[in-house]
Point group: C2
Chain length 242, copies 2
DNA sequence: GGCTCATGTAAAAGTCGTTCACATGAGCTG
DNA sequence: CAGCTCATGTGAACGACTTTTACATGAGCC
C-alpha cells in the first residue's frame, strides 16, 4: 500500500520518485487521524521523508492538496454510489435504499475522504475539476431519483425528480454529519445511523405513495422482483402500528 | 452593540474593562467572515486592541473561546426553536414545519454561531456545558416530535418520537449544511433551501399518515385551527398530481 | 560528455499559539 | 489616604507552520 514510506534519504537518493502520490497518501492518513483542520503540509512532507518546501513542487499550496484529495474522494464516492445503485436492481426502491446505505458506509469507512469533501471548509467551486467530480457523484443519486419518480404512484405528491434527489442527499448527509462521523458519532443514539436513515427514507418513500413492505411497485412496469432473502421482520425497523 | 470597540490604548487605559465580551464579539465577527478554521486568536486580540497574550487571561486557549461561542449559539438556537414551536400553536403540524424553517433561518442569519456549533470540528463533548446546551436545543425538537407522535394517525408507521425528532433534525441539518451555508450555498439549486426543506418535511409527514393539505388533524384532539392566512396555492410547493 | 529542467534542499520572513516574567492599577483594608 | 493584593494586561521568547527564494542534484536526452 504505502509506497516506500519509511525510506531513509540515503537509500532513496536526492529525488523521491513518487512524491506526489506519497504526499496524497500521507495526507489521507493524517486527515483520517486528526481531521482536515489539524492536518499539516509540513507533517505530510515529513512523513514522505522530504523537506517542508518539497511539496510546493507538486501542489500550489496546502489547499490544492486538500482539494486533490476531495476530488479523489468524489470519484470513489461516485463509484460506490453507482455500484450500490446497480442500475436499479432488483427493484428501484430496494436499490434506492441501498444507495442511502452506501452514502453512510462511505462516510464511515472513508473518514478522510469524507472530511476533505464535506468538512474541510474548502469552497465547492475552488476547482472546476472538483466541482465536476462532485456533480458526477450527485448525478448518480439524481439518476436514481429519476427512475423512482417515473414509478411514483398516482394520488400522491409528485415532486420533480431533482427535488427528490436533493431530499435523499440531504437526509443521508444530515445523518452522516450528525451521527456517523468522528466527534459527532459520540452523540449517543438509541439506534444506529443506518437504522435511522433507513427508517427515514422508508417514511419518505411512503409519503410519495410507495408501499413500504419491501415488495414495492406491485403493479408497475417493473419486472416482479424475486426476493433475494426472506422478508426481514414485520415491515420496517420500528414495527407496524398495532 | 459593540462596546468600545475602537478605543485607543491611551483613552482606554491599561485595563480593557470588558475584554472577555469584546473578544467574543470580535471572534463572532471573524468567524462570520472567514469561518472557524480561518479565525485567529491573535486577530481577535488585535481587534479588541490588546496584546496577543491578553486573551489567555479569559480563555484557556483558542478552543475554549470557540466552545464558548458554540455554547452561546446553542442557547440562542434553543430560544429560536422554542419561539418557532410556540407550544404547537395554531396546530401541531404547522408549528412543526415552522421549527424546520427556524432551523434554516438560524443557519442563514447566524452563520458564525452555526459555524462554531456544527462546522468547527470541536468535539461535542469537549465541554459539559456545551453538551448540555446542545441537548437543550435538541430537546425542543424532541418535545415537538412527542406531540406529533401522539397525534399520528393509525394505519401508518409509528416510529418512536425520538426517532422522528432525529429524522427532522437530520433533514434540517442536511439541507442547511449542503445548501444554505457559505460556500455550500454556491451549489446552484432550482429552488430555495426553504422550499426544499418544506417539501421534504411534508412528504415525510405524509409518510407518517398526516394529511398534507395544510389543514391537518381534522379529527384529532386538537382544537380546529382558524387558518391565519388564506390557503397558499394548491397544497404544496410542487403542486398536486394530475 | 555535457545540457537542461524537473525535482529536491536550506534558509529566511512572516504568522500563530502559547508561556513566562513583569507591569499596572482597581479596590479593599487599616 | 497609604499601602497591599491580585486580576488583568504587556513584551519577549519558543517552536511550529506556510510560503518564497536562491541554490543543488541528477535523470533523461542530444
Amino acid at each position: 500500500m504505502s509506497w516506500r514510506k519509511e525510506q531513509s534519504r540515503a537509500e532513496r537518493g536526492y529525488h523521491h520518485g513518487n512524491l506526489k502520490e506519497a504526499l496524497l497518501q500521507a495526507a489521507l492518513g493524517l486527515i483520517a487521524e486528526k481531521g482536515a483542520a489539524g492536518f499539516t503540509f509540513a507533517d505530510a512532507a515529513r512523513m514522505a521523508g522530504v523537506s517542508a518546501a518539497a511539496p510546493y513542487r507538486h501542489f500550489r499550496d496546502r489547499d490544492e492538496l486538500l482539494s486533490s484529495i476531495a476530488q479523489r474522494g468524489f470519484e470513489q464516492f461516485e463509484q460506490r454510489l453507482t455500484a450500490a445503485w446497480d442500475d436499479g436492481r432488483p427493484d428501484t426502491v430496494t436499490a434506492f435504499e441501498r444507495v442511502g446505505r452506501a452514502y453512510l458506509a462511505f462516510a464511515r469507512e472513508e473518514p478522510a475522504f469524507y472530511n476533505a469533501m464535506f468538512e474541510s471548509g474548502l469552497p465547492v467551486d475552488a476547482n472546476a475539476a472538483l466541482q465536476a467530480a462532485s456533480e458526477r457523484a450527485f448525478n448518480v443519486i439524481r439518476a436514481a431519483a429519476e427512475r423512482l419518480a417515473a414509478l411514483a404512484p398516482p394520488g400522491a405528491p409528485r415532486p420533480p425528480a431533482m427535488m427528490m434527489a436533493l431530499h435523499i442527499w440531504s437526509m443521508a448527509h444530515g445523518v452522516a454529519s450528525l451521527f456517523s462521523r468522528g466527534d459527532a458519532a459520540r452523540r449517543k443514539l438509541p439506534m444506529s445511523p443506518d437504522e435511522l436513515l433507513e427508517a427515514e427514507v422508508l417514511i419518505y418513500l411512503r409519503g410519495l405513495g410507495f408501499p413500504t413492505d419491501r415488495r414495492p411497485q406491485a403493479k408497475s412496469a417493473e419486472p416482479p422482483p424475486v426476493p433475494p432473502e426472506a422478508p426481514s421482520g414485520s415491515g420496517g425497523p420500528w414495527g407496524k402500528p398495532k
